[in-house]
């Protein structure tokens, strides 16, 4: 996979979640994503950015324009140094939440992406990487 463009941003506040949505939208438009695909990747980004603020105590996101096998896409890597997730499999279940939300953030973001990986170390933090191809 080749990275064509990269952009890193911090996520500390609810307002920054909004600016990340806008940055992801802009990158998706530049890459020629159609409206539905733009909406899907922006919505997934919103869920994961909120998770980083709410559960990770803030973090950062890397927004990459990538290319592989002649296809272009967006790869988003969300990282935080929060408490981590003790049971990732459980956290991925629809409706599971420890924060009073709907429990759709992680599972929904996975459904809205083409590739999804999550790594979490209790006490160290969490990293979620999603990619959506054009």
């Amino acid at each position: 996979m080749t990275v064509l463009l990269t952009d890193q941003r911090t996520i500390q506040t609810a307002e920054e979640v909004v600016t990340i949505r806008q940055a992801v939208r802009q990158r998706a438009v530049e890459l020629g994503f159609n409206l539905v695909d733009q909406t899907k990747i922006v919505t997934a980004a919103s869920e994961l950015a909120r998770n980083a603020v709410q559960y990770g105590g803030g973090g950062r996101v890397t927004i990459d324009a990538v290319e592989a096998f002649g296809r272009r896409g967006i790869r988003l890597t969300f990282e935080d140094d929060g408490p981590g997730i003790p049971d990732v499999e459980l956290a991925m279940k629809d409706g599971y939440t420890t924060g009073g939300g709907l429990g759709l953030g992680l599972s929904g973001a996975r459904r809205l992406s083409n590739d999804f990986t999550i790594e979490s170390t209790p006490g160290k933090g969490t990293r979620v990487t999603i990619t959506r191809w054009r």
Binding site: K40, E47, R50, G108, R111
Partner: protein
Amino acid sequence: MERIPILKMGEYLLVTIQVDMHDRLAMTLQDDLTGRIVDTRAKGVLIDISALEIVDSFIGRMLADIAAMSRVLDAETVVVGMRPAVAITLVELGLSLTGVRTALNVERGMDLLRERIRGRLSE
């Protein structure tokens, strides 16, 4: 403080969300709206989301909560103007907006509100 305006028109309250809302702003709207329903004794609430480019799980929950709270306060809520791309994404995200009435546009939303409120009076 930043706020989403709530307009009163007869027995209805009208809200048009024109900005990309952050979570606190969404919570403020929810609080303001429930307060206004009580103050104005509104019978119907119309929320226009045609300017919203996404509805994620937080905003989806806010809409469902507003609908549930207004019902408890004896008012009906209709959400109008959802963009097709938003609807497609919402379903894939896993949100069905149970309990939230929707209409295609403001006009149909107002018709629906009037019908619901008339229906209630004749019960």
